[in-house]
């Protein structure tokens, strides 16, 4: 059965054991989310591990991860539930003559004809799950409003069936890249966690955890360079995920030192805009020769 953490330290250790190195505040908020049963709104720049946190949490708690990827135009039919029209129609056509109207009506609006979408699935599941609502800022405000019932009471109202209440209490994580201001009503129902780029030591530990084969010296250099790059005024600063990708690439290339040529040839792994490439090559290239 699923794991019930008893302290913040336990959560931190647990997340670590499944390959996610949480900052102190992250572990604390995750712990509170499990204990209080409140949804967590995770915000921060792209690629700092918001989605990863949900995955790791699901793994650590030994729960199923139900994921709802948000996009513009996402509606109830795709997020909550949908009636299976085809099956309903077949049911009606297969009906023998003389069956009363109410009998059919009761029949075709039953659970058998309901298609579960992620949110309903998360709620109706027999064992508790981790529900990840990813990139909530990509949806419209109307969708947010629809979520409110789910987030505060863990129930969904289906007009034909009535209320579906949660059988088990899911841990809910909502992520946002902060491209849009979310409504106060939504924020009020959530715990708030701001994930930022990790500090150098922390990031080094993350890189070492994911790419242990890369020598420690090289990893340290890599992390330091990434930090330098992040300090520049870029369109898209390199994320943690990109640091790890870079480390993997260096490992594949068999690089044993991060020198000027290696840096230039692999630069495109961490920097992904043409103008950014120029800036980095220009500014960091000079610094590099001093650092490395």
């Amino acid at each position: 059965m699923s794991v019930e953490p008893a302290s913040v330290e336990e959560v931190a250790a647990g997340l670590h054991s499944v390959g996610y190195l949480p900052a102190q505040s992250t572990a604390l908020v995750a712990y509170l989310a499990v204990r209080l049963g409140k949804p967590v709104l995770v915000e921060g720049p792209a690629g700092v591990g918001k989605t990863e946190l949900a995955k790791a949490l699901a793994k650590y708690l030994e729960r199923e991860l139900v994921r709802l990827q948000c996009y513009e135009g996402l509606d109830e039919a795709k997020a909550l539930y949908e009636w299976n029209y085809r099956k309903q129609l077949l049911r009606i056509q297969a009906e023998a003559d003389g069956t009363g109207w109410s009998a059919v009506q009761d029949d075709i609006f039953g659970h058998e004809f309901l298609l579960e979408r992620p949110l309903l699935h998360a709620i109706a599941s027999d064992s508790p799950v981790v529900l990840l609502i990813d990139e909530i800022d990509k949806t419209d405000q109307e969708f947010e409003a629809m979520l409110l019932e789910l987030l505060s009471d863990f129930q969904i109202t289906i007009p034909e069936l009535g209320r579906v209440e949660a059988r088990t209490h899911p841990v809910v994580l909502l992520t946002s890249n902060n491209t849009r201001e979310l409504t106060e009503a939504l924020k009020r129902r959530c715990l708030y966690l701001w994930l930022d780029y990790p500090e150098t030591q922390h990031e080094l530990a993350i890189v070492r955890l994911h790419v242990p084969e890369l020598s420690e010296t090289l990893s340290a250099k890599l992390v330091e360079v990434v930090r330098l790059v992040r300090e520049l005024d870029l369109k898209k600063p390199p994320s943690v995920a990109e640091s790890i990708d870079w480390a993997r690439a260096l490992l594949l290339l068999g690089a044993d030192d991060l020198d000027e040529t290696t840096f230039r040839s692999t630069l495109s792994i961490i920097v992904k805009h043409r103008t950014d490439l120029d800036t980095v090559a220009e500014r960091v290239g000079v610094k590099l020769s001093g650092v490395l």
Binding site: S25, W194, K235
Partner: protein, 468 residues
């Protein structure tokens, strides 16, 4: 539940006071958030100050800006509470409690050994012991208090204390050498920075104490309030707002569509869908209503009378360029210059504004706006391209410096274009006062007062409304 049983008397009242403080600074803390905070505090251990703080932060504040205010206020509030309590119980610390005003801290107690202090700091930084670092930062400030009194600039004081303690990062300022432990008197830059942050926090705190108010540190609302007269705005802050705006530009059409029930049935798609239901058209498919994608002509005044607003205007221009493909932009003072290429070439806002500042060449002799000439030149350049689906937006204060407003030429522009908007960075109160001639233009177009982001949003709604 560890907390609820052992919660000290009067603690709840303190928490409510703290929430009041947050509200006074403009952080929306609801009753439900407070209940959450209490529930959270019941779940965690109280021995670790960081957990206490993080638990409060997670439940009470919901944005990075609010978090900053929270940090400042948290420091001040609980610091004060502790100080008051210490006074009441007559507890005295040898180090003066980090209060820069009480310089007698060092002379009063035992003499402070600078070497010992320095060693302790180095030790704490190396071990990444946050609470020790904080205590030592207080100690250091007390020790150097007298000298730091004069400057009043936090950054300077921090650096002075750091130098006074002789803390240096290793030569080249590079990465900590991970293979061997660093030599005894060298520290990673990261570590020193962390210590500096504690120093800064402590100094800021004592400054907050001294002046008895929060330092003005709210870029967003600052931006909201003081666009026309304020100093050069923080570009990042403008950009953040504009990024949200861009998003709204993209979704606005959808919202407006919902409110209008008039729609065309798409017969083909309806028939196809009906196959699923045995040929009965159960579900009607409608033709999507496309949001209006206007072709934009934007004219932006960059003369001195609108200097304070022009950063705002340029960033609006920048955002519009990201959202609309068919767009031509012009800047003007005495004459007009097309800058569409600049925006197409340069992606970063800084580069754009520099390029425009450098080689737009719009000021002629006097540097005063000449609207009449601007209209004529504009019409000359685009007369053939203007058509009823085009939208013209003018960003300017309509101050002609006594010159001929040439409203008739403007009227011709309006007549050729589909819609024309005027965004005026002055409060409506000042319109038509002095040399402002907005009234003669307003006859032909819709004029909006626009110098805050919320006003801009109002305008954006008007702009993307599906149809007239």
């Amino acid at each position: 539940m560890t907390g609820s049983a052992t919660r000290p008397e009067g603690f709840d009242a303190r928490m409510l006071e703290f929430a009041e403080g947050l509200r006074a600074e403009g952080v929306a803390v609801g009753t439900s958030a407070m209940l959450d905070a209490f529930a959270a505090l019941a779940e965690i251990g109280w021995s670790e100050p960081r957990q206490f703080r993080e638990a409060l932060a997670a439940t009470l504040v919901k944005s990075p800006e609010d978090r900053r205010i929270f940090e400042l206020l948290f420091e001040r509030f609980f610091f004060r509470a502790v100080e008051a309590e210490a006074l009441r119980l007559d507890v005295r610390e040898g180090d003066g409690g980090g209060d820069a005003d009480r310089n007698d801290g060092i002379t009063g107690g035992e003499e402070l050994d600078y070497e010992a202090l320095r060693d302790a700091v180095v030790q704490a930084i190396r071990e990444e012991d946050e609470s020790a670092m904080r205590d030592l930062a207080r100690l250091a400030i007390a020790a150097f208090g007298r000298r730091s009194e004069g400057s009043g600039v936090l950054g300077v004081d921090v650096q002075r204390i750091r130098r006074g303690l002789g803390l240096r990062s290793e030569p080249g300022g590079g990465s900590p050498s991970p293979t061997s432990p660093p030599p005894s008197d060298q520290l990673s830059r990261q570590g020193i920075r962390r210590f500096e942050r504690h120093l800064r926090a402590e100094l800021e705190r004592s400054q907050v104490q001294r002046t008895g108010s929060l330092p003005p540190a709210r870029p967003l609302s600052e931006l909201d309030r003081a666009l026309p007269s304020g100093p050069l705005q923080d570009l990042a802050a403008v950009h953040r707002v504009v990024a949200q705006l861009k998003r709204r530009l993209a979704t606005q059409g959808r919202e407006a569509r919902g409110s209008k029930r008039h729609a065309h049935v798409d017969v083909r798609r309806t028939m196809r869908a009906s196959l699923q239901t045995g040929g009965v058209p159960v579900e009607l498919k409608y033709r999507p209503r496309r949001p209006r994608r206007p072709e934009l002509y934007v004219l932006c005044d960059v003369s001195t009378s609108v200097t304070s607003a022009s950063v705002f205007f340029l960033s609006v221009l920048h955002a519009l360029h990201d959202s609309f493909r068919k767009m031509r932009s012009f800047v003007f003072v005495e004459r007009i210059s097309e800058v569409t290429d600049v925006f197409a070439r340069e992606r970063s806002f800084r580069a754009v504004s520099e390029a425009i500042g450098k080689d737009a060449g719009v000021a002629d002799v006097s540097g005063y706006t000449d609207y009449g000439r601007v209209w004529r030149e504009f019409l000359e350049q685009v007369e053939d391209d203007l058509h009823p689906r085009a939208t013209v937006i003018v960003l300017g204060d309509a101050r002609t410096n006594g010159r001929d407003p040439s409203a008739d030429v403007f009227a011709r522009i309006v007549a050729r274009a589909g819609r024309t908007f005027w965004l005026n960075p002055e409060p409506r109160l000042y319109w038509n006062y002095g040399d402002s001639v907005i009234a003669s233009y307003e006859r032909y177009c819709e004029a909006y007062e626009c110098w805050t982001t919320s006003q801009l949003e109002e305008f954006v709604k008007a702009l993307t409304r599906p149809d007239r």
